[in-house]
């Protein structure tokens, strides 16, 4: 039985994918994508949660059983990357919204198709 955090991460992933497909509003699509990224982060952090929840930041004198620092380091990168992608995607959505006055994916798709094939 894997740690409960892993199960929660899996559930978050399902919710995220569901919303990504169901919601037509691009803002919600981005939120869903953020949730999917969060679920990977939660997964990495929770993999080892049953053994130790002691932070791997220790004064040199005390050395107990600590949590694995490597996934934490990876996750830091993942957080920053997901922020970067989100900022850029959001700007793109803003630009599209200004052009087409909507954030609805289906309508933008149609409008773009109309523009390319006159």
């Amino acid at each position: 039985m894997p740690p409960i955090g892993v199960a929660v991460a899996a559930v978050l992933f399902v919710i995220g994918v569901g919303a990504l497909v169901i919601r037509r509003d691009l803002v919600f699509k981005l939120l869903a994508l953020g949730l999917i990224n969060s679920s990977t982060i939660l997964l990495l952090i929770s993999l080892d949660a049953q053994r130790s929840t002691m932070a791997p930041i220790v004064p040199p004198s005390v050395m107990t059983d600590v949590a694995d620092p490597l996934p934490q380091a990876l996750v830091l990168a993942a957080i920053v990357i997901s922020f970067a992608i989100l900022a850029l995607a959001l700007v793109f959505v803003m630009v599209l919204a200004e052009r087409y006055h909507t954030t609805d994916a289906l309508r933008i798709e149609r409008a773009v198709a109309r523009e390319t094939k006159p």
Partner: protein, 257 residues
């Protein structure tokens, strides 16, 4: 124990956030989710990640979402271009409905943002929340899924074109250019059209004998999305005020002969 509760709450918050109708609610709920996640990380022995998640995931991300979707301080109007009602002259906007909305926006300290669209799109954009008010010769017939304000100008409907044809009149709500194009090519189908558009087309395009006035009266209104009851109430009250103070008549006289 706290950890367990937090972990169980997470999916609920996520589902709540992603099933909202308004983006802002969803964004704020996702911000809350990020804070909860940060707490989970801190409790699972990853304070570094918790700090990063709180600073970037919760604060910065939520912030830029809010900055991107904020509507505060503006009134977004989707309008159909109809002379005398809502019309673009070069870079200027003119027309009766434009003046009413501009006055309303001024009163409410809002910046008026206008984008033009075809009549179908106007109702559509208002309904989906991409615009707040629909204007430009909107008739009760346009009102699918939207609230309409009270009438601000009475109008009549006319059937034009298609002499000698038995087919029922179609309700043309295209661009005026397209309508006049159709008329010029003597399309056999009769067209129902409202007064403002009929006037805008001009006599030569229609041919006086082809115009037939329908008996039922109609009136122009503004469209407001169904979930913006507050806005609807305010706009309605504003039109009411204009009418009772007589300003509306002045405006109508200025724009409509």
């Amino acid at each position: 124990m706290i950890l367990l509760v937090l972990l169980i709450v997470l999916p609920l918050v996520a589902a709540f956030a992603l099933s909202r109708h308004r983006p802002l609610t969803g964004i704020i709920a996702m911000g809350v989710l990020s804070f909860l996640l940060a707490a989970v990380y801190a409790l699972q022995g990853a304070p570094d990640v918790a700090v990063a998640e709180a600073a970037i995931g919760a604060a910065l991300v939520t912030l830029i979402y809010v900055l991107a979707v904020r509507r505060a301080g503006r009134l977004v109007v989707a309008a159909c271009d109809v002379p005398t009602l809502f019309h673009r002259e070069g870079t200027r906007l003119v027309g009766l409905e434009y003046e009413i909305l501009a006055g309303f926006a001024h009163e409410e300290h809002l910046e008026l943002m206008v984008h033009f669209a075809s009549p179908e799109e106007v109702a559509d954009t208002v309904q989906s929340g991409d615009a707040e008010v629909g204007a430009g010769g909107m008739l009760p017939a346009d009102q699918h899924g939207c609230l309409a304000t009270q009438a601000h100008l009475a109008t009549a409907l006319f059937v034009i074109g298609g002499e000698g044809s038995d087919s029922p009149p179609t309700w043309r709500r295209d661009d005026l250019d397209q309508v006049s194009e159709m008329l010029r090519h003597e399309v056999r189908t009769p067209i129902t059209i409202d007064l403002a558009r009929c006037l805008a087309l001009g006599g030569d395009a229609i041919g006086s004998d082809g115009v037939q006035r329908l008996s039922e009266p109609s009136a122009y209104r503004f469209l407001v999305a169904e979930d913006r009851k507050e806005l609807h109430r305010k706009l309605d009250r504003y039109v009411d005020q204009l009418r009772s103070s007589g300003e509306l008549d002045v405006l109508i006289r200025r724009h409509v002969r």
